[in-house]
């Protein structure tokens, strides 16, 4: 199990240091600094020296590090680091050197609570916030009853939710967010296209609400409706795999594919899913890149918005690679702004908005310096980032969200869809 937990800044200074076990001294931090922070070529998130292993995750120039001296469960260690980061984000907004330093006492309290002797313990944010706070608490003043409530929640079967939540207006917001992974060959064939989706929920619901959630999941619809909410028709999607938040009853999903749960209060990720069939690609990119002799490269890159013309793509950014010996690039764009960024060897073309069905073309000429030994240009892929609201690349839609609570209040539900790409949508040329 985890023997020590550290946070380092970019210079390798220790911002947080907690030893859970006596098999290390604090000086073990120096070893990490030498082996990882000062090493310009770190090629693994895990480094094992003798029996000692360092696991690290980077976040905003910080290193979140766990050290072990046994055959640790590596997935657990990394999940713990991720969880720490998300708790920290929830507590103080962002995780960087400043916020860690500003909250170091609180962080020590948290890591004492969410990990005992190297074993991760309850780390449900909602529950933690009921007893790990930045307010000054007089220890004798905590009502014993209140504490018992906390402890039974922290160890209970719905450790993610307090029982006494009250809202005037009961609302639930569902965000379906899909990331499209695309890899397209220079010939225009799709090498790989799939969707990583997750469903983010913000539940502001009183009491202990019992929720049922329905998607146009092919397996459910083929079975015949699976809980009502209108027939699915032919637009059902095939999900390769789903993974659920701790609150979802997996045995029910396994037997009937119903998604039922008591949600945490506030924001949480209800489920993740993956789909590889019938992926709709919102943007089609057609590049023509020609090397003219050894001194010039010409570009014609066309972007087509392949979706309903009532929708639009926003924050579209194309990163078009240029050879390493490029001196200047002359760009012509009908829409947005294009700029050559020499430090990254790319032309960045930003298009604030692209209407469905629209098609625009970028033209450019890059001038190259002549070099004595001309190395072949590796031609990294064109990378496209974008967002399309109210569109899902997988075709997934939420069919219903039902909320049952014993006071049978009325609740309002909102659904939003977003499809995006960031660093995952790549076109070779």
């Amino acid at each position: 199990m985890i023997s020590a937990f550290f946070i380092f800044n970019q210079k390798g200074e220790v911002l947080i240091s907690r030893l859970y076990r006596t098999d290390f001294k604090r000086s073990i931090a120096d070893v990490f600094r030498i082996q990882v922070v000062s090493n310009s070529d770190v090629r693994s998130p895990i480094i094992t020296l003798g029996s000692t292993s360092f696991f690290h995750v980077r976040v905003n120039n910080l290193y979140v590090v766990a050290v072990t001296k046994n055959n640790a469960n590596a997935a657990l260690v990394f999940e713990f680091c991720y969880r720490f980061i998300s708790i920290a984000k929830s507590y103080f907004g962002k995780v960087d050197e400043e916020s860690v330093k500003n909250n170091f006492v609180l962080i020590y309290e948290l890591i004492d609570e969410i990990n005992d002797f190297g074993y991760p313990q309850n780390s449900e944010i909602d529950t933690l916030k009921t007893y790990i706070t930045t307010e000054s608490i007089v220890s004798s003043a905590i009502a014993v009853e209140e504490s018992s409530k906390i402890t039974s929640q922290a160890t209970g079967t719905t450790s993610w939710r307090r029982a006494d939540v009250k809202y005037k207006k009961n609302e639930a917001f569902v965000d379906v967010v899909e990331t499209v992974n695309l890899s397209m060959s220079a010939k225009g064939t799709v090498l790989r296209a799939d969707v990583d989706g997750h469903i983010q929920m913000r539940a502001y619901l009183s009491g202990t609400p019992e929720c049922k959630f329905g998607l146009n999941d092919k397996l459910v619809i083929d079975k015949g409706g699976g809980g009502g909410g209108g027939g699915g028709g032919g637009d059902a999607v095939e999900l390769d795999d789903c993974r659920f938040h701790q609150c979802v009853r997996l045995n029910e999903f396994d037997s009937t594919r119903t998604i039922s749960f008591i949600p945490p209060d506030g924001e949480f990720e209800l489920m993740k899913y993956r789909s590889t069939s019938n992926v709709k690609l919102p943007l089609r990119i057609i590049p023509t890149v020609t090397e003219v002799g050894t001194t010039q490269v010409t570009y014609i890159v066309t972007v087509k918005a392949n979706f309903n013309n009532k929708l639009s793509a926003t924050s579209v950014v194309l990163r078009i690679p240029t050879p390493l010996n490029t001196t200047t690039v002359d760009c012509k764009v009908p829409n947005g702004k294009a700029k050559y960024v020499p430090a990254e060897n790319v032309v960045v073309w930003k298009i604030p908005r692209l209407q469905g069905g629209q098609e625009i073309t970028f033209g450019a000429t890059a001038d190259l310096t002549s070099t004595t030994h001309r190395q072949v240009w590796a031609r990294p892929p064109i990378d496209v980032d974008f967002q399309v609201l109210m569109f899902t690349a997988s075709g997934l839609i939420v069919r219903f969200l039902k909320v049952f609570e014993k006071s049978s209040y009325h609740s309002i539900k909102w659904v939003r869809y977003l499809t995006k790409a960031s660093g995952t949508y790549q076109i070779r040329f």
Binding site: V14, L15, I16, F24, S27, I28, A29, R43, I46, L49, G50, S51, K69, N70, N71, A72, N73, A74, A75, L76, F78, E79, G93, E98, K101, N103, F104, V105, Y108, D112, D116, F117, Q121, T133, S136, V138, S139, I142, S147, S148, T151, S152, T155, G156, L191, D240, D241, C242, R243, Q246, F253, D254, M271, R274, Q375, V376, A378, P380, D383, T424
Partner: protein, 728 residues
């Protein structure tokens, strides 16, 4: 609720002991709401963090325990956790306060007290903790009980005999039946750690307890699920049905959002499959495991890496898990390098005739990227693909020639090395490209590539008109060349002579090399080989020809996967460090507990036949390199993994024979096994028959190319004390 942002960064400044002491003393007089003390304590905690020794403030800091603020208490406790151990003569100052807290009405305070006390493992503290802990293990509040369960391991780690004397282990065992799932899972975690100790009690599960734990599984926190799933490997099914029923209940955890839950569930399923009889059930489970394994790749890159290294093992043992999914392993341009390298190996393993074209196109793409290791491995993979998938060989060769044309300094040697193997795999098919290869002779600096090229020149000297000239050129640097290259040159010269014994130039050349090898070189292998050839040629040149140009064993890749028994054993460590390095943990981590499949009537016959029983061998890397008799071939074979530990160091007595591996361990068992008889087992868990193949070594696919293989960095081979002791 929280939300307000702290402003504590200003305390991150180095301070002096004296200043802090004065400030603390000043605070005693007039400290409204204990604000001053809070500030000094924050400064002290910041200084502890920065590595400043604050221990001289011990008596001053513990004074603050008198304040009723929880925040202050927690900071003092943090101070005690850091320095308490080094102050055995002063620690008695805080014990009364601890004891008072242990009996506080507030369960959070009780738990905090025992948790902190058990972090100070010195006899004085442990002594006074013992009574409290016994009560807390039976506390009415589950939060206190779950904290107490972990306290037991802490005490056990510090003073195992005291923990046993106090009956804590039995109390822990009782907690496994606790109504609260969080308590159960912490008790399981504690017992597992104690059970893994070499001096610990043996921790096994019988069917009843295993089923109880499975019931708690659904109610546990995600971490608790991991502890429970993990310990299911301590249950040995006696009947196929038991394994099958358990698998059915574990399988639903594959849908969990936490990747560690998923990987641990996969580990349990892989384990249970060894004890199943029904082929269909096994196929069903394999099919179920596929999609969740792929989904792990949408986690953060670190978890992706863990998943990929494990998938590489899983598909060798259970190819059915991911048969048709090669595309999801294609590299993204911006994947971290460790993810790319791991994906590449999986791509190679999943390559088949149906997908060879796509895979080759991807590999070609990678071979033009910038990271040298990645490019080299991609080039190697192209060559291995040619050997593995015969119908793809033509296009692979074409691609390799294309890559050679780029003249990139690290691409050409890789290509030549793999082409050598392709020649051996398909004799008489591709020799036409030799002239192209010969154009790049000068570009070959690396010994392995140079040796490969020399092998080609020698082997096909009859087809290369100017073979003697080429070889003569290569011989210029003979005396400075590494042994690997010298051996290759020697053999190639002899081959050339066998082919063209009429030519005077050839005669002269072979004579020159033999003379150098036997008279001017110190390496005994080279000298021996030189003498051997010389005598052979002198006594009977015809036979010499038959020997040096004998037919070589065919190269195939039918079986370039790990030995089945070794895989079975390694998969018991799925998700852990061992599975990342593809090494049994006891071979690289001191005091790590090894694992082995335990025999039972339900164990399938094949698994039993290849089973590697546990030898409790203490952490010793088993790599023994003995510069052997006989000339090594151009590449050095790695020791293959069914680890039959060859320990050359005889100074140490052999480890005692463990009593643990036999299922019928007596006395110390926590839980007796169920006595159940089992039905017959028929093994239909067959693996494709393996051809005997010189290349089918360990981490096979890339032969001896281990440069980028993740490895624990062991300290110098000779020293038994590895880095552990140097570091701290």
């Amino acid at each position: 609720m929280s939300g307000q942002h702290g402003q504590d960064a200003k305390f991150f400044q180095r301070g002096k002991i004296e200043e802090f002491r004065t400030e603390l003393q000043a605070a005693e007089a007039k400290d409204k709401k204990f604000l001053k003390r809070k500030i000094v304590l924050k400064k002290i905690v910041a200084n502890i963090t920065m590595g400043n020794d604050m221990s001289p403030l011990f008596t001053d800091v513990v004074q603050c325990l008198g304040t009723p603020l929880l925040e202050i208490k927690k900071m003092v406790y943090l101070f005690l956790v850091s320095y308490g151990r080094s102050k055995p003569d002063q620690i008695h100052l805080v014990i009364p306060s601890f004891l008072q807290d242990c009996n506080d009405r507030n369960p959070l305070i009780r738990a905090l007290a025992i948790r902190t006390m058990s972090y100070i493992p010195i006899p004085v503290v442990t002594e006074s903790l013992s009574d409290q802990l016994r009560h807390c293990l039976k506390d009415r509040d589950p939060y206190v009980r779950k904290t107490a369960a972990i306290c037991v391991v802490k005490v056990y780690t510090a003073e195992p005999r005291r923990a046993e004397k106090n009956g804590f282990v039995e109390l822990l065992r009782d907690l496994m039946l606790d109504p609260n799932a969080t308590v159960v899972s912490n008790a399981v975690a504690a017992l597992s750690e104690i059970g893994d100790r070499h001096d610990g009690v043996i921790f096994k599960l019988n069917l009843t307890i295993a089923n109880k734990l499975l019931t708690a599984l659904g109610e546990s926190s995600e971490w608790g699920q991991i502890y429970i799933l993990d310990c299911l490997l301590r249950y040995v099914p006696e009947q196929h049905e038991d394994a099958e029923q358990m698998a059915e209940r574990v399988i639903i955890q594959l849908q969990h959002a936490n990747s560690a839950v998923v990987l641990t569930a996969i580990k349990v399923l892989l384990y249970l499959m060894n004890y199943m009889g029904d082929r269909q059930t096994i196929d069903y489970i394999c099919k179920k495991m596929g999609p969740p394994s792929v989904t792990l790749l949408s986690s953060g890159p670190e978890v992706q890496y863990v998943a990929l290294r494990n998938i590489l093992l899983i598909i060798q043992r259970r190819p059915a898990v991911l048969k048709n999914d090669v595309k999801v392993f294609f590299c993204k341009y911006n994947d971290p390098i460790y993810v790319k390298l791991a994906k590449l190996e999986i791509m190679y393993r999943l390559a088949r005739e149906e997908n060879a074209k796509e895979v080759l196109a991807e590999l070609y793409e990678y071979a033009t990227e910038v990271d040298i290791d990645f490019v080299r491995k991609a080039v190697r993979s192209i060559g291995r693909l040619a050997i593995k998938v015969e119908p793809a060989a033509d296009s692979c060769i074409k691609t390799l020639l294309g890559l050679i044309e780029t003249k990139v300094s690290y691409v050409v040697p890789e290509a030549i090395i793999v082409i050598k193997d392709i020649f051996r795999r398909y004799p008489g098919k591709y020799e036409g490209i030799i002239p192209t290869l010969c154009e790049h002779l000068d570009a070959l600096e690396e010994p392995e590539a140079k040796a490969a090229m020399i092998w080609i020149v020698g082997q096909f000297a009859d087809k290369i008109d100017n073979a003697d000239e080429l070889l003569d050129d290569l011989l210029y640097t003979f005396k400075e060349d590494p042994v690997e290259v010298q051996l290759a040159l020697l053999t190639a010269a002899v081959k050339l002579f066998v082919y063209k014994s009429q030519s005077d130039a050839t005669k002269e050349l072979v004579h020159k090399v033999l003379k150098w090898a036997t008279e001017e070189v110190d390496n005994p292998d080279l000298r021996d080989r030189g003498f051997m050839y010389w005598r052979l040629l002198a006594i009977n040149p015809a036979i010499a020809g038959e020997i040096v140009l004998a037919e070589k064993p065919a190269i195939t890749t039918d079986s370039d996967r790990m030995d089945r028994g070794a895989l079975d054993q390694l998969l018991l460590h799925t998700g852990t460090l061992g599975s990342i390095y593809h090494k049994n943990p006891e071979t690289f981590i001191r005091n790590a507990a090894g694992k082995a499949l335990i025999d039972s009537p339900a164990l399938n016959a094949h698994s039993r036949a290849v089973r590697i029983p546990l030898s409790r061998n203490v952490t010793e890397p088993t790599t023994v390199t003995v510069a052997g008799p006989g000339p090594p071939e151009t590449h050095t074979q790695k020791p293959s993994p069914p680890p039959i530990p060859v320990d050359i160091d005889t100074s140490k007595p052999p480890p005692p024979i463990p009593t643990e591996s036999s299922p019928s361990s007596e006395s110390k068992d926590l839980l007796e096994m169920d006595e159940t008889t089992s039905p017959d087992i028929d093994d239909d868990d067959a693996v494709p028959s393996m051809a005997n193949d010189p290349y089918s070594n360990i981490d096979g696919a890339f032969g001896n190319y281990m440069a980028d293989e993740p490895q624990p960095m062991a300290a110098g081979k000779g020293s038994r004390r590895d880095l552990d002791d140097l570091l701290f």
